[in-house]
Structures are given as C-alpha cells and as structure tokens.
Symmetry: C2
C-alpha cells in the first residue's frame, strides 16, 4: 500500500550506491525495483526470477552480489526461519523494530511491533552491560484462528 514510501526507499538505496561510487546498472535497477515494490519476504532465487521478468539479463551471480549491498544499506534484512535458504525482508526501512510470528503448520508469517517489548529489551541489555544495535524476535506457534476457519492448510503435523 504505501507505494510512495517504497519508492522513497528505493531512492535511498540509489543514494547509498552513489555515496559508495557504485554504479547504477540496468541489472541493479531491475533488482532494486523488484525489492522495493513488494512487502513480501523473498529468497535469492525468487528475487532472481522476479527481476528477470523486468530484465532478462539479470543473472544469479548479480543477485547474489547485490543482496549484501541491500543488507549493508540497512534497507533489507536477512532473516533465517530455519530453512536451508535465507529470506530477505524489505520492510525494515519502514518498521525497524518489527518482529515475526510464524505458524508452524501453514507457515503463515505475521509481522508485529510492540513498544513494550522493545523497551524491556533495552532495559535488560543495559543491565547486562550492552547497548542494543538490533534485535530479532521470532515466535513460532499455531494460528488457532485460521484452524477454526479451516484456512490453515498445509501439513497439519503428523
């Protein structure tokens, strides 16, 4: 929905590239356009596929070489949900402190923010002699609501 914000994030990334005197190539543009026009989490392979729809010349190598730039810029965050491959989350520019809750059955992922948790994290860290740079909280559970509605489809546990 906040398409304007997304577009602004894209501009931020372009500024990031310029600042490091890195070049705005057509392949990078295709990748960036893709990343900053979705709110979905994606894998490297998905990003390749989507970007190729915009520019067939995008190669897997370029995707893998661009991902570190994206995370380095702070606009995209690498996530690990316990799969073999990494996921990338393009929503950190808008919501730097959001967390994830994952249904262990249908694998639905919901993002949420909570100021109270953030505050507690800061307190505890301070008590332990740390200052917080970033945090990641993942909750795994069952999406009972969806189950009641019969909408929790996948592999309902053996």
């Amino acid at each position: 929905m906040p398409l304007a914000e997304k577009s602004a994030t894209k501009d931020k990334f372009i500024a990031f590239l310029e600042e490091k005197s890195l070049r705005i190539t057509s392949q990078r543009l295709a990748i960036i356009d893709t990343v900053f026009s979705t709110e979905e989490h994606f894998t490297a392979e998905q990003l390749l596929e989507w970007s190729r729809k915009k520019d067939k010349s995008v190669s897997r190598a370029t995707v893998y070489r661009t991902l570190p730039l994206l995370t380095e810029s702070g606009l995209v965050r690498e996530m690990d949900f316990g799969k073999d491959y990494k996921f990338y989350d393009p929503n950190y520019a808008q919501h730097p402190n959001h967390n994830h809750i994952i249904c262990q059955d249908c694998e639905k992922i919901v993002e949420f923010e909570d100021e109270k948790i953030s505050r507690l994290e800061n307190e505890i860290s301070h008590k332990l002699g740390f200052s917080v740079k970033s945090q990641r909280l993942q909750i795994t559970g069952s999406c009972d609501e969806l189950k009641k509605l019969g909408a929790c489809k996948k592999k309902s546990h053996c």
Copy 2:
C-alpha cells in the same frame, strides 16, 4: 556447574532414544556425553572433534545424523547467529525460555531469561490469533562494559 542436572539431561535423552526403539551405540554415547557435559554453544564440526576425543570411531555422518535426534527431543536447540553454519545450544532443557544477547564486536554471547518478555509474547500472540510453541529473541549490540575494561578484544569494527 550443575553437573548433576546435565547428567540427568543425558539420561532423558537416552530415555528418548529407548522410547523410539533407537539404539544406544558407542558412537551415540560419545556424542551425547559430549553434548551434555558442556554449557557452550557448539557447531557440528566442534561436536565431531570433541566426540572423537572420547571415541575415535565417531564419524561426521553420525554426528549429522544424531543432531536432528537431539533437537527433536527438545533437549538441544538449533540456533542461527548469522554465520554459515548452525550452532547448537544444550541449555534449553534447563532454561526453555532463555534468550541471547550477542556483542557485535567480540561476539560474546550472554544468555538471559525474562518473565515479562515471555508474558508479553504470549499476550501479543494471543491477540494475533496464535498460541505460542517456542520463541527466540536475539539482541545484537555492543558490550560497553567489556569495552571500558579493555576486554572486548576481537575485530573492533573497521
């Protein structure tokens, strides 16, 4: 320190194996002994190395085949700290809800528990229609204390 508890955890795992009619082989014993006599996080490779000190016949394959059993039993937890390899944490039997705070500079890891955070997690999850099965919270930051003491050694950021 709580060596007795650790030993009890080992017994729990042996019971877990028996329950599934899996065999208590000498290799598995070496691995289990290793896992439940440390409180450190370890990698598959470290576990192999340590286990081989107890029983040279332990192979990499057996380590990799035993790790899923350990996590399945709930006594060891797979962790991802953003490295290429996974870490395993043998402290979940004693502290099922503990969290991690990691220094981005010296990579020191401190474990902590906080009931308030757990409670908030439950509340929020419920609000979102989920019931919590497990959670993982990782905070990354700087260990200011250690810095002041000059004890924060490794790669102090370029």
